[in-house]
Amino acid sequence: MIYLDHAATTPLDSDVLKAMQPYFNKLFANSGSIHSAGQEALAGIDKARQQVAHFLNCETNEVIFTSGATESNNLALTGIVDASDIKKPHIITSNIEHPAILEVVKNLKNRGVEVTILPVEHDGIVNTNVVQKEIKDNTILISIMYANNEIGTVQPIKEIGELIKKINEKRKNKIYFHTDATQAAGYLNCDTKSLKTDLLSLSGHKIYGPKGIGVLFVKKGTKIKPFQYGGHQEFNLRAGTLNTPGIVGIGEALSIVKKNRDVNNKRVQHLRDKLIEKTLKEIEGSHLNGSKTKRLPNNANISFDKIEGESIMLNLDFEGIEVSTGSACASGSLSPSYVLLALGLSHLQAHGSIRFSFGKENTIEDVNKTVEALKKIIKRLRLISPIK
């Protein structure tokens, strides 16, 4: 199998697995128990919390373990709104966020929150000036993703963070800044002090860690309410017995990411660039979606004219190559990827899109085989197509 779907999920790193293993059956005790078995489990969690804090350049009591980025995003947005004493609070986000933001925002809107959903430029990047223009007296929260899951575009988080910090110096009610760093965490600097974020979400399974575990960074002093009750865990912000193996796993995964980031980024970027270069050169009517430079090093999102993405994806699957698509047919709704439409692509262009997301186990052989398979498949599908 040639797995090029790392934006969907990644395999578990073998060192992460090794770190996790004792916590399933040997060090299984509840980390909330005061006996020594419980304290051993707690030691594993403490270590992981330190690893995460190191990764985020924050304090250990600013790290909240959750069940994944979906929960982190829900907690961040809903928790900030619930804790606000503004009568009709206003929040700002972008139109290319993951559904784990956009659906939460929709729900908050139904509850009476005022919502502004910013457009992106044609290259898939949010314009900081546009963010600034939308800020109002009742704005309490701005949530912009660090990197997009479909097109990999990287948002100017530091620039927006600095802007908000400056604006906050001159206003009474603070604007909190949240970023969904789920896709970014494997590749980009997540120093929360330098990015100037108050809240940041990430997930284990996108960074060679386990599934079902995530982190929400909550800066000290942030006014936030839990939405899950039933225990004092996680500084009273997230009730429930801690997922010890998962937490140990995400801590280890993040520390490996940090250690190998430069080398790994260079490697995957080389593969990704080769794929883009060969595909655009050797396959007529193929186009890269999203900024060429401001994107994650492992992401290529390419539209192929006059054909449909799910049929490309399935044909690649028959050849043992796993990718994903923004096609309407694969969406479960009638509409193709809203992210691609937000770039100004036509429905037909979005319909023919394929996302390739590389990972650390891929090789140049994988790239060559994929391009060869693509050439054959695209040619055949265009033969079937009514548009010539």
Partner: protein, 123 residues
């Protein structure tokens, strides 16, 4: 979501793929929202569909139903072919995933249009 083996079979090796030059009837359907599109060409002799071919831009469901409808319609009288319904096509393929309904309706619609087109030309 999962496709049946029959759907995958037709998707991998579609029957009657391509265009017919100077067809007696042409059915064109498309869904501008989702993007799937289909052209169905028929040749009619003695009130029977003597030859039928398709061109489709779409997913596995769209391509497999296109292929299946050509199998179902070939050799049929126009009256018989007109009666082939959307569900006949999906039944013949051993059911399609429910979310694929809009993709799989194209084929029967295209056949009905092609027959209409033939009738209009031969009024």
């Amino acid at each position: 979501m999962q496709y049946s083996n029959k759907v995958i079979g037709h998707f991998k090796n579609p029957h009657n793929m391509g265009a017919i030059e100077n067809p007696d009837g042409l059915g064109q359907v498309g869904n501008p929202v989702c993007g799937d599109m289909m052209k169905l060409y028929i040749k009619v002799k003695d009130n029977k569909i003597e030859n039928i071919k398709f061109q489709t831009l779409g997913c596995a469901a769209a391509i497999a139903t296109s292929s299946m409808i050509t199998d179902l319609a070939k050799g049929k009288t126009l009256e018989q072919a007109e009666k082939i319904s959307r569900s006949d096509v999906s039944d013949a393929l051993g059911k399609l995933p429910p979310i694929k309904e809009h993709c799989s309706n194209l084929a029967a619609d295209a056949l009905h249009r092609a027959i209409q087109d033939y009738k209009k030309r031969n009024k």
